[in-house]
């Protein structure tokens, strides 16, 4: 456990040193603040609280930004150390391979959590302070923050998988970018195409299953449909009611997308003949 903490601590220090932490916090805060104050103007007099509006706006941007940031943190994590020769050195220390992966994960997710906490948290506090406070909205805002960190965790794990499979850093970068494009754009486009082309052939249950199969859509469901006030803003309340999705299924789907790639990474690294 101590080795994991030392490794996590190093990742956090690296993040602080090369301005990753600062950059991520600033981009999250900038995003949240501009959405909160510019975005609320046209809504004007809806019944929904300002926090709920912010959740709808923020989560639909986080779904693009967070996977990108997480993949950029993770794609280099293993292949980069192998390429620089520091992985061999690290493994000659009293450190196991799974400790290396878990230490990096812990450090990276801490960076993302702090960025979300500071970036989104500050905007949330400002919103609440300026009069948009309501209990339900605060709840969904906090849930959005937590699920954003979870989304980051998913793409960290996927990034490590790319990093352990790639032979070179440049290849890992390419794969990570492709993965991002597929997960946040292409998958949904394909799903949309399927809906348009297939029409009624696709049952509601199958559609929901296909949505849950993607971690980004699971995140969207969690934040846009999971909460009634937010769903009203997003205009998805009806869809949610029809599909009958609770909050548990998307969380389980995202946890699966975090644990499976992480375990695969551990197994592949463990079996690699150095």
């Amino acid at each position: 456990m101590k080795a994991i903490l030392i490794l996590a601590d190093k990742e956090i220090r690296d993040g602080l040193r090369n301005r990753w932490v600062l950059g991520t916090i600033l981009s999250f805060a900038g995003l949240a603040l501009s959405l909160a104050f510019l975005g609320s103007a046209p809504v004007g007099s809806t019944r929904a609280g300002e926090l709920a509006v912010a959740v709808a706006g923020l989560s639909s941007l986080t779904v693009y930004l967070m996977p990108l940031i997480a993949l950029m943190l993770a794609f280099d994590a293993l292949v980069g150390e192998f390429e620089r020769g520091t992985m061999l050195l690290l493994l000659s220390y009293p450190v196991t391979r799974w400790q290396v992966v878990l230490g990096k994960f812990l450090g990276h997710i801490a960076i993302l959590a702090v960025a979300v906490l500071v970036g989104y948290g500050s905007a949330g506090l400002l919103l609440a302070w300026s009069g948009g406070w309501d209990v339900e909205g605060a709840g969904s805002y906090l849930a959005m923050m937590a699920s954003s960190v979870l989304l980051g965790g998913v793409f960290l794990a996927l990034g490590y998988l790319v990093s352990v499979l790639a032979r070179e850093r440049s290849a890992a970068a390419g794969w990570a970018l492709g993965l991002w494009l597929f997960a946040v754009v292409l998958y949904d486009l394909a799903l949309l195409g399927l809906l348009v082309a297939g029409g009624d052939a696709l049952g509601a249950g199958q559609f929901v299953a296909l949505l849950l199969a993607s971690p980004t859509d699971a995140y969207r469901i969690l934040n846009l449909i999971g909460d009634r006030a937010v769903a009203a803003v997003a205009g998805l309340a009806g869809a949610a009611a029809r599909a009958g999705i609770g909050g548990l299924a998307p969380v389980a789907a995202m946890l699966g997308w975090l644990l499976v790639p992480l375990l695969l990474t551990l197994v592949i690294l463990q079996r690699r003949d150095l």
Partner: protein, 308 residues
Amino acid sequence: MSDSEAVALEGVSKRYGAAEVVREVDLRLGAGESLALLGHNGAGKTTLIKVMLGLTRPSAGDVRICGRRPWERGFSALRARIGYLPENVVFHDTMTGRELLTFYARLKGRSVAVVPELLERVGLGAAMDRRVRAYSKGMRQRLGLAQALLGEPVLLLLDEPTTGLDPVLKRQFYELVAERQRQGTSVLLSSHALSEVEARTDRIAIMRRGRLVACGTLVELRRAAGCPTRIRVRAAPSAVEELMTTAAGVGEARLVAPGSVEFACRNGTKMDLLRRVSALGELVEDIEIVPPSLEDIYDRFSEEAAPQ
């Protein structure tokens, strides 16, 4: 196999897929002893070091490091007492030397209080708070050595530690290693040139295509190599004929220039030849004796064409 031996390899082979990188290597390194592992690139040196560290498991054979097998439970604790410097390691260059060494010290379970002192000892005292990015090649290599020296190691494994260093830096590097050895640490270092490690280690082992082809002191290797000592004799051009017949049967003679003959003398024939040549008296103008160079000896063992 006693526990006091730092390294004991018996019949170690390692294959990656179809390629057999290390073949049936037997090698021992006693406590406090130093050994240079020589060979061309791809001879299997790095793989052998990885086997010793337990980073990869041998396909066959037995490995004991300080009496323990690297793949058995409990070896992890021993890792804190092994110093390793990988070949061509590139440290995170945004960290300072002090930060980097602090990280490694904590990972080895050592007090971070030793860090400044250790950096001072390898001559990085003034540069410890500068980023590694600004370090020269020699400074980086000394930082790598400092990392390996953490926690009073019982065994140092240095993979081509002086490649790319200029002669002065090389000497400084070996002095630091020798200092550690005097304190009882066993040292194994690899290199691809015999001239680099001459007189730096107690013994020398030479690998060729995964096999250990020679192991011993420099004197022993010199003898085993059987490389000829070359004797160049300059005489009056008219005396060359006589010179050749005098030395017949002792060494191979070759006319290298008008009036200049080179004899290649193998084991023990040198004095005989010299006696015969000097018996020619004033016909001989000059005698030059060229013992086999370190390169000759090394090539003898490491060249593909050389006899087993």
